[in-house]
Symmetry: C2
């Protein structure tokens, strides 16, 4: 499960890694240097767990590169993805909400690089570094909003609309422009998409096939390009 490349691979981390990221953007070079010097850097292969639901929340992370899926596993063994986290965001910040275990599992969707700090540093970070707490809570606020949206979607929308919405959200958050449209920037299977939309991989496959015939998307294995986002928006609103 774990990775073969040891921690602290990168000899010395550059300040520019963090200086433009919201939680750190108000800090000066010296402060960022201090933060980096306390950080552990680590590479994760695709598909490995950075931390597990229920485990003691010992470290918090800043995802520098890659994508992470936040998943929960039901007692019946089904997986439900509750969030996607792109590079540049904090994760595992349970402590900010007074928890001492991680509330969900974080799995890399691609090969990823993350910095991490001991959770004991959390309170000194929030105390010392201006804007760090505020920005962290903003991130949590955004995630809360996103979860709220997912609840409403699950509660009121048809499968087709949910899948269309999920696709739109993914290209918004992590889309990359390519010649034929906008591509989701990391490998994503029908299974992943079904876990994100609370349906089965079969149904997702059928939908994507239908959409491909109508020219809305182009999909190869693990890759999806949205060529007509506007049409997807219509679908997400329930039009056919």
């Amino acid at each position: 499960m774990n990775d073969d490349i040891p921690a602290k691979t990168l000899p010395r981390l550059d300040e520019s890694l963090l200086s433009h990221l919201p939680p750190f953007s108000r800090l000066d070079r010296r402060q960022i240097r201090a933060i980096l010097d306390q950080a552990t850097s680590r590479r994760y292969a695709a598909g490995v767990a950075i931390f597990d639901e229920g485990a003691p929340a010992e470290r918090f992370y800043m995802l520098l590169d890659g994508y992470v899926r936040v998943v929960r596993i039901t007692s019946a063994g089904e997986q439900v993805t509750s969030l996607h986290i792109p590079a540049g965001q904090l994760l595992g910040i349970a402590r900010a909400l007074g928890r001492d275990t991680y509330p969900a599992t974080a799995v890399t969707a691609t090969e990823s690089i993350a910095l991490s700090w001991s959770m004991q540093l959390w309170s000194s970070f929030t105390a010392q570094y201006d804007g760090f707490a505020t920005e962290s809570y903003k991130t949590i606020g955004d995630r809360l909003g996103e979860m709220n949206t997912r609840i409403v979607e699950l509660a009121t929308q048809q499968v087709e609309q949910r899948v269309a919405n999920a696709l739109l959200r993914l290209i918004n958050q992590t889309g990359r422009k390519v010649s034929k449209g906008i591509e989701i920037d990391f490998p994503i299977t029908r299974q992943d998409l079904s876990e994100l939309t609370a349906t089965t991989l079969h149904t997702v496959s059928r939908l994507l096939s239908a959409w491909e015939k109508r020219g809305l998307v182009i999909s190869k294995r693990k890759r999806i390009i949205v060529s007509d986002p506007h049409a997807l928006v219509l679908l997400s609103e329930g039009q056919h």
Copy 2:
């Protein structure tokens, strides 16, 4: 929509109102006095909105008595209840997450009483009062966990299980012991319950009727008593 009883009805608020509530429990009498003197107290009739989704977050609230439903309304006009808030909790604390509008509408389920403060006081409260911020964030953490649970439920469970779970959660949070079992402490219609479980009032009605025949619940209009919680737990796990 609004209420006829003016603010500041209660001549002078007693410190004991707040002293045992988590966000204030670590404070001394003098501090609580100061907080109370800045508060506005107001009574709300059942079924009125304390604040509306999207409105500027001008005040934050402490619910002293009653119950509040946090709802969102979809573009199609359907309501989805995302949380129930019992007395003793803060609400409308959008600001803690860096938002300047309320992310959802708060509607009273019963006649309720709440204190409120101008949102401008938020930062001074968190700065001055020990434990206030921590406890507030803990509340948010709990709500996040609850929402997460709802997502997983919506994603993986059958209607019957979801309704059973909702009922169990309600009696846990707001149950009152009566001779024949545990009663939900505020009026709740089939419609409310259907909005909480993402189904129709018809289905909820059928389920409750069936359960009543089997002796698991007793229900009159707007009132539900759970007489066999354990059987409901089994149902919520998928047994029949």
